[in-house]
């Protein structure tokens, strides 16, 4: 049920740290220790290099595509303390904005749901989180949450724009603007939920990991009131945090303890499959059954070049 569409030789000269397709699944962006970001057009199993973006002075850790309604925009963050927002203008990729107000490596970037406008969150090893928003005048505005995570922030992920309370919106027709939220994970072993309430405030502090949190991902919502956050950590565990949308409490549930450090968690578009990857070079896919149980449905072990297990 999983088939290889194409294999892209990115031509990077050093380790790749992130790879993402754009909204439509037509373009692949990769970033690497060789300080470059590359963009490929992927069509029918063939790929052509569309751009090789140079501008970072250190390894590039993560990239993020903005919603296409803003144009073709890509954000990247790097060890060199910088966040660069790239934009395609007249077929050429240019540096759209550069943000250099962090004091240490920037480890994670994530675009807010497009409904809020063009907003980017960046988590840095200096412990702070920056929220960059595009202004109507074409400029950028930055808000900074200082000391969001002591020692350092490793991951940020936005909550979907569909508010958890939408179900209780009756026929009044008035749609209250959803509240902006995002989740972050850091070296203080904590996962934190932030809410915009004029200023950004810490809404919840989720304690469960016993070592650095490496990634956190807010599950896409399909409209249910329940929200789910997945987090993974150096302690080799993946924890799923659920909130019923009514109370402010979060339930934690350990998905699995893996053999090696877990680096990354990624939700499928419908939020029922979670891809987990980590230091052991393996990928496993986890699916929620109708009964609410999580089962591992495949292992992709790229090291051996084997294809994922047929379901």
């Amino acid at each position: 049920m999983v088939s290889v569409i194409s294999t892209v030789d990115t031509g990077h000269e050093d380790m790749i740290h992130d790879a993402q397709m754009d909204y439509y699944g037509c373009r692949l962006a990769t970033c690497s220790s060789d300080r470059s970001v590359r963009i490929y057009d992927v069509k029918n199993g063939t790929q052509t290099l569309a751009a090789d973006l140079r501008g970072h002075e250190g390894p590039v850790w993560q990239i993020a595509w903005a919603h296409p309604k803003f144009g073709n925009i890509l954000a990247s963050c790097s060890y060199d303390h910088k966040v660069i927002i790239w934009k395609e203008m007249n077929g050429q990729w240019v540096k759209f904005y550069e943000y250099a107000n962090h004091d240490s490596s920037v480890n994670s970037v994530c675009w807010a749901p497009h409904d809020y406008g063009l907003i980017l969150a960046c988590g840095s090893s200096d412990g702070s989180i920056s929220i960059l928003s595009a202004t109507a005048a074409g400029g950028w505005e930055a808000k900074k949450i200082n000391n969001a995570h002591t020692i350092g922030c490793n991951a940020v992920s936005w909550a979907p724009a569909i508010g958890p309370n939408a179900a209780f919106d009756s026929t009044t027709g008035s749609r209250s603007a959803p509240v902006k939220r995002f989740v972050s994970g850091g070296c203080d072993n904590l996962v934190k939920v932030w809410r915009e309430d004029k200023e950004w405030v810490e809404e919840a502090k989720l304690e469960g990991h016993s070592d650095w949190v490496r990634d956190a991902a807010w599950a896409p919502s399909i409209g249910l009131s329940r929200t789910v956050i997945a987090s993974c950590s150096q302690d080799r565990r993946v924890i799923l945090w659920t909130n019923d949308g009514v109370s402010s409490s979060w339930n934690q549930r350990v998905l699995h303890t893996f053999e090696d450090v877990v680096w990354h968690v990624s939700w499928s578009v419908t939020g029922n499959i979670l891809a987990v990857s980590g230091g052991d070079n393996k990928v496993s896919l986890w699916k929620e059954t109708v009964e609410g149980q999580w089962v591992c449905i495949s292992d992709v072990n790229r090291g051996k070049g084997s294809t994922p297990g047929q379901q």
Binding site: T10, H17, Y23, I222
Partner: protein, 1013 residues
């Protein structure tokens, strides 16, 4: 992370002794250094002088040595050498051999005096026996315990007098020496050899074992199956001992290069709270000198393989990190508010003569500001900076007054600076700076300096990393600016620093190459990026080198390390988990950094850590992140080689092959695989492409979609759609509900309830496609949007008699004002059409000429009429909403489903389907704000945002190419205003640049320039 500053203050080398072990006597006065050639006694207060050297000239090394811990026998010392154990007596002048205990048949591996019986000594040996001696009777042991395997360690319990523990490879045995026939307890502690045992001094049954497998485990010996706690390090642990203060643990490593002693707090074993750096070789033995009465401090005495004795001061602050709580806290002043920071600045001064410049006196300043975090969970954090600063002397540090005095000497000036830190520093206040006597700069310069200092201090406080050192750095810079130093001199001093940095291995300098400052904001003028340090990297997570991401609608993007870089997941060692912080890379690359330091000085700043692989074809690729993996691989091949000597031929050829492969594949580091995971998703693109919508005939729509599902073998969906068709078939009402005509069908259990159950089921399956389609099929597109609009516009206009039809609402004109922003996207009309329909409900609900299908009985406007007909029968209890199959109560939820599906359709590029779905939203989507097209109806003199004039119903737009009226997607040139059907225009402009009308406008070019504004 542990801070790595050193507070060592005495180093004494005794190269000539060749001692293999050290023992500190119970008074803490004398240190015995014992080796094959001699025994030596050193006074702790004057460690560089050997009081007495006692030649041995034995064939055998001294295995272990221990002073008797009891005060009246503290002159006795036991040393083991091969099979014998000697008891020596020290009378402050000379050694006299007292006894010689011979009973073991093979080498004695360890000794331990009893903690309560002064004359008892336990010894263990590889001959499998553990002997307990009463030294008053040296002829034979009083008890001899027999184990099957040899013992490496023996330790008496520190609370109970009859219990002792011995280590046998990876197992621990517990003995009650009163019944010595067999152990009272076995603990299978480790899979690897245990190097050290230690009992807790206050908890009777707590035992700690340190092992080759890089862990220290804690056991409650009554419950040997459970590891109470474990501590993991990166290298085999030689000794792990409880600290005499607080709840701490001190460990030493058994791996070359890991020469530091780590101090851990038992409350949090994830990270050491402190590292004692400085030893140039493995630490063989360490001991604690207990505090004197006037001083809370402990002294840590270590003996390392490089034959140096080091004495470190462990002050109260460090002890506190281990949970030690002094009874009288003199620092209570700073802890008025527990939630604020507790800061103590402490400076330890070491003067060493730099080997490269004897003229220059180097001062090492080490200030640590330890900040205890606000929340209890987050471990204490240390920002410490270790920097050799020329020209700077710290003269006086007063911890209780929180002040220090520094003297800065430059070529021309001398500055004496008193710094005092107010209690609220660093939480709001900044330190006070005062120039002291002896300062040679003038008042003008002084005020300038003060400004600089205050600025720097404020900045560092605000950034949350208060550091006096950084402030002082800033001062030095401005002093340099004040007195331009001779250029040659600066250069020479730079080269000296460089030499110091690169010559750290194997000379007297005991520091790690820590040259960075930690904070870039302060030193923009360079140097910083060139010298990346532990301080910067220790909190940067170790880079991901593999990963998987779901992207777009159903794609899974995987990237990973190439197979030749795969790490060996050797089950033999716990170090196989990936490190967490980037700083480990430094360890791997540090040796390379040194020789590349000069070479790559002209390359980009990150050259040290990350030279592009391609740039070093000849050399070692190990400076990249891949180094970690390469390193592992090499290690593995090395060990496998040594293990399989017999098959060395095959393995080496294998390795050659692999080496060649590696060379060939070396540059192929970045393969990204794109998987189509849509099979795993509850969504199907083919269905989405073919599903149909019909807002008037639900049953027809369901039947059509059932056929579509059948076409793709989705029997489940075929079934659901057929059911949907039945649900929507109005004849059922008449046939089945004859006796209950008044009850709306929706209230029937097979009506709304069934539909909701189906939807809920598919929600659980996360099949948003089916859910959203059902919501559309049974939704009321026009009506609901209409009512919404009607409601709002009415309240806005406030003209009651106004009909919603055939009028322009004031709301429409407000819509017009949204033509503000220009954006690329809206070359199509689909969006603005949406708005148009929302804004002018008349268009949509105008009878389309088709006869109303029977299904429209479900549409509320016809229903209301039904009700009003039957109104006389008293059935008004059924309101509008009761006739709907989808409960309007949940409209918000259903809208969410539709929006989610619309988003997925957008990702698939099915824009039309998306718009069709969005039309069913009960509340309109936010009107498009961007470039909008307005057409003008000339006869009516109105502007219209659609294809048809609202007043005269005239169709206004003709395509410039095919001359046919445009109703759907349209595209226009912003410059010349010509345009037509989206399809016609796109077809035209695939080949042409100019306007099809021949107006001469180069539409493509012009529009590009318009949009790039």
């Amino acid at each position: 992370m542990a801070a790595k500053w050193s507070n060592e203050y005495v180093v004494a080398e005794h190269k000539d002794l060749q001692a293999s072990t050290m023992a500190l006597d119970s008074s803490g006065q004398y240190v015995l250094l014992a080796g094959r050639r001699c025994l030596a006694i050193v006074d702790v207060d004057n460690p560089s002088v050997v009081i007495k050297k006692f030649p041995r000239q034995s064939k055998w090394e001294v295995g272990s040595a221990e002073w008797n811990p009891h005060s009246h026998l503290s002159h006795l010392c036991a040393i083991s050498s091969n099979q014998r154990t000697e008891i020596l007596s020290w009378n402050s002048i000379d050694f006299t051999p007292l006894n010689c205990l011979r009973f073991h048949t093979r080498a004695v591996s360890d000794l331990n005096w009893h903690h309560f019986e002064p004359y008892l000594l336990a010894s263990c040996s590889v001959d499998t026996y553990i002997n307990i001696w009463d030294i008053r009777d040296p002829r034979k042991p009083c008890v001899s315990l027999s184990a099957v395997v040899g013992a490496t360690q023996v330790r008496w319990n520190r609370v109970t007098s009859h219990l002792l523990a011995t280590a046998h490879e990876g197992d621990v045995r517990l003995w009650d020496w009163r019944k010595g026939s067999s152990p009272v307890q076995y603990i299978a502690a480790h899979l690897h050899k245990i190097h050290g045992l230690d009992w807790s001094a206050n908890q009777e049954y707590q035992l700690a074992t340190s092992s080759q497998d890089c862990t220290v485990k804690f056991f409650d010996v009554n419950n040997p199956r459970v590891v109470e706690n474990a501590l993991r390090t990166v290298s085999p642990v030689w000794r792990a001992r409880f600290t005499p203060f607080g709840d701490g643990m001190m460990t030493t490593q058994l791996r070359r290069g890991e020469n530091s002693l780590l101090l851990w707090s038992l409350s949090d074993l994830s990270n050491p709270v402190h590292s004692f750096l400085g030893n140039n070789d493995l630490v063989l033995e360490f001991d604690w000198k207990s505090s004197r009465s006037d001083d809370d401090d402990y002294q840590l005495i270590t003996w390392s393989k490089d034959q140096s004795l080091r004495i470190w001061r462990v002050d109260v602050n460090l002890q506190k990190l281990c949970g030690y709580e002094p009874e009288n806290q003199p620092q209570i002043v700073y802890e008025e508010n527990e939630s604020t920071y507790d800061v103590s600045a402490q400076a330890v001064l070491t003067n060493t003569l730099s080997p490269t410049s004897h003229r220059k006196k180097k001062s090492a300043l080490s200030i640590n500001s330890s900040i205890v975090g606000i929340d209890a969970i987050s471990q204490p954090e240390h920002y410490s900076f270790n920097k050799e600063i020329d020209q700077l002397n710290v003269c006086d540090v007063d911890e209780t007054q929180r002040s220090l005095t520094t003297v800065i000497r430059t070529a021309k000036h001398q500055i004496v600076l008193h710094i005092s830190m107010p209690p609220s520093y660093p939480d709001g206040a900044i330190p006070n700076f005062l120039f002291g006597k002896g300062t040679t700069i003038d008042n003008n310069a002084r005020s300038k300096m003060l400004k600089v200092l205050k600025q720097a201090a404020t900045l560092s406080c605000r950034k949350g990393h208060p550091s006096i050192e950084l402030v002082l750095q800033q001062l030095l810079i401005s002093v340099d600016q004040l007195t331009p130093i001779d250029k040659s001199e600066t250069e020479s001093s730079k080269t000296i620093t460089l030499n110091v940095n690169s010559s750290t291995t194997g000379n007297t300098s005991f520091r790690l190459p820590q040259t960075g400052l930690g904070h870039p904001g302060f030193l923009q003028n360079g140097g910083l990026f060139g010298s990346l340090t532990h301080h910067q990297d220790h909190n940067i997570p170790y880079p991901r080198s593999s990963g998987a991401r779901f992207c777009s609608a159903g794609m899974l993007i995987c990237f990973g390390r190439p197979s030749y870089l795969r790490r060996v997941n050797s089950k033999t060692s716990d170090t196989s988990t990936t490190p967490r912080s980037l700083s480990v890379n430094q360890a791997y690359s540090s040796n390379l950094v040194q020789h590349s330091l000069v070479a790559s000085s002209n390359t980009t700043p990150y050259g040290l850590l990350y030279p592009p692989v391609a740039q070093s074809p000849t050399g070692d690729p190990s400076v990249s992140i891949s180094s970690f993996y390469n390193q592992d691989r090499r290690q593995k091949s090395r060990t496998s080689k040594s293990k399989n000597r017999l098959s060395s031929y095959s393995s080496s050829s294998d390795e050659n092959k692999r080496g060649a492969q590696e060379a060939r594949h070396h540059k192929v580091v970045g393969m990204v695989t794109i998987y189509d995971a849509s099979g795993l998703m509850p969504l199907q693109l083919e269905l989405a492409e073919r599903y149909v919508f019909c807002d008037t005939d639900t049953a027809w729509m369901c039947n059509q979609n059932a056929a579509v599902a059948a076409q793709f073998g989705r029997k489940d969906l075929t079934y659901i759609w057929s059911l949907g068709a039945l649900l929507a078939t109005p004849t059922l009402i008449h046939e089945n509900n004859t006796n209950d005509l008044d009850t709306p069908w929706a209230q029937n259990p097979f009506g709304r309830k069934l539909l909701h159950a189906i939807i809920d089921h598919y929600v659980k399956l996360r099949d948003i496609q089916t859910v959203a389609m059902l919501c559309c099929a049974f939704g009321y597109k026009c009506d609901s949007q209409e009512t919404f609009r009607r409601k709002t516009t009415r309240s806005e206009s406030g003209s009651p008699g106004e009909s919603p039809y055939h009028t322009i609402h004031p709301g429409d004109t407000t819509l017009d004002s949204w033509n503000v922003l220009k954006q690329i996207r809206s070359n199509s009309w689909s969006d603005s059409l949406d708005d148009f329909r929302l804004a002018t409900p008349g268009i949509n609900s105008v009878p389309s000429g088709r006869p109303l299908p029977i299904a429209s009985i479900f549409l509320p406007h016809s229903v209301t009429s039904v009700v009003s007909v039957n109104g006389a029968d008293g059935s008004e209890e059924y309101k509008d909403k009761d006739f709907r199959l989808l409960d309007p109560k949940f409209n918000g939820l259903f809208d969410n489903y539709r929006r989610c599906y619309a988003d997925i359709l957008y990702r698939w590029g099915l824009l039309e389907a998306r718009v069709l779905v969005l039309k069913y939203l009960s509340t309109p989507i936010d009107p498009h704000r961007g470039v909008d097209f307005v057409t003008e109806c000339v006869p009516c003199r109105t502007t219209v945002r659609g294809p048809q004039c609202t007043l005269c119903k005239r169709l206004l737009l003709n395509c410039v190419i095919c001359r046919v009226v445009v109703k759907g997607s349209a595209s226009f040139c912003l410059v010349c205003g010509h345009g037509g059907h989206g399809r016609c225009m796109s077809h035209w402009f695939t080949e042409e640049d100019e306007c099809p009308t021949g107006c001469g406008c180069n539409c493509l070019l012009e529009n590009n320039t318009v949009f790039s504004v």
